[in-house]
Amino acid sequence: MSHQVYSGVPRWIYAVAVLAALVVVLPLIAMVARVNWANFLPLVTSESAVSALGLSLRTSAASTVLCILLGVPLALVLARGRFPLQGLLRSLVLLPLVLPPVVGGIALLYTFGRQGLLGSTLEVLGLQIAFSTTAVVLAQTFVALPFLVVSLEGALRTGGERYEAVAATLGASPGRVFRRVTLPLVLPGLASGAVLSFARSLGEFGATLTFAGSLQGVTRTLPLEIYLQRETDPDAAVALSLVLVAVAVAVVALAYRRPGGRAGRASQRTTAAAAPVRNAA
């Protein structure tokens, strides 16, 4: 089938593509090859490993929820709103995507830390963020929020505003349009954004290390546990890395699975209908 249809891709591109794939895949293969399978189970079920994995899953879930609660309104405002400095706001919000995580950690420290912008106020209120699980969730939300905002804003822009306009002329209030039209329409984009945020939270390391510290059961997530195990027990580090890779693969597969059946066709139609956006003039 693929040989019958002209693809227009030069042969040498395939060679470079294979090279590119190797850049990503080879290190993973090399790591898998180093797994000590005989001790794999004891290594990944040790008390500290289970505690770290559990903490990672819990904090990532919490930060994903936070990302959805905060990110949906932000994406909506960025995609649909019209206000001054909108472009600047978008750039700032996306900054954590390209920022080294440790920089994020330092920034968070000077915000929520004891001596930080909000930290002293929070301290008065009896809230200590630093060295707490809350700090981990904050760090993860900081780095993961842009993923949700980017993918949701993309979905909102692709969908256009025409369904919302029609819904409004049918008598639906802005709140009802949001609940019954906008949200369902961007649900696939929101879902993949949430999954990406979860994955990013799961992999968060630098900001957590800088801002939250590292204590088993409280702030030591799986990446921090791997980093620590590496000091003394490379086998454990490799085994735990494999667990993290497995979780990441599952998450990415979930986010990018081929839309099939009715939902898939419906979304195709949506895009097709949205494509010839006519001038409202």
Binding site: R162, Y163, A165, V166, A167, A168, T169, L170, G171, A172, S173, P174, R176, V177, R180, V181, P184, L185, L187, R262, R265, A266, S267, Q268, R269, T270, A273, P276, R278, N279, A280, A281
Partner: protein
Amino acid sequence: MTFTFEAAVAGRGFDVALTVGPRETVAVMGPNGAGKSTLLAVIAGLLRPDSGRAELNGRTLFDLSPGRSRWTPPHHRGTALLAQEPLLFPHLNALENVAFGPRSAGVAKRQARADAVRWLAEVEAQELHDRRPAELSGGQAQRVAVARALAADPGLLLLDEPMAALDIHSAPLLRRLLKRVLADRPAIIITHDVLDALMLADRVVILEGGRISEEGPTREVLERPRSTFAAGLAGLNLIPGTLARDGLRTFDGRTVAGHAEEPGPAGEGDLAAVAVFPPSAVSVFLDDAHGSPRNYFEVTITDLEPHGDLIRVRAGSLAADITPAASADLGLVPGLPVHFVVKATAVAIYPA
């Protein structure tokens, strides 16, 4: 009047005043970019004009006259919009789509579904209840969209070229359907198709360059067009000018002889008028061998196209219909200078 409207959007050169009576359907026609969609967007509340006011059934839609600023949001206007694409919500089935309006108005779920069932039957789509929009053909989807717009019980129904995206088999069915449902309710329909105007509308408004160039009962506008655009719709030649004793004085000083339906004022005034004649009344000659009661125009052929079993010879804004045999005899090709000749008795002249 059910609906009164006047608004200006400076950025788009839009300045329109319009009324729609109870049970009246008004067709809005005009070239692309004339402001037709702007009109609907302002009425529906999707675009805020710079000034103007509008009222529907005694309720103010907006009042932006100097010193006032009242603006009813779209969902409180009762002006349902049916667009060129059905824009059915893809995540809801046909029944849920139709029930959307009643549900938004606070109607209980059961009642809203019952309403939806009734409206789907009204548009002959009762068998489509459970279908998702992706499972509907273009014509089916547009019928469901009509039901959805009607179910919202709009005070004024806005239709933006509802037939434009349909194939030639679906359009007649929808047109019949619209004729039935629009018969007793106020509506504004944007269309490019003179057939829509004739079948669906009581009145036609011609929009050109953001302003109304002509309006009147559909039949009258098509039979006695006063604008070039309306003449084009009716398939008639139209020459603008001023009323003269012996016919029509064109802007470049020629006189077109014709039959003045209403005698002009004594003497030559500045009363704007048009000379109108069908292409079938035009003869084509290669030279000016013709008698006195005829009008002749020296023109250059721009296009030849089939028109029924005749050939339509276009020359600028004028057209002549002749037989293929005559066209062949004369050796007509684009670029050829010819004379268009028309008898004065075939030319109707009336004030514009």
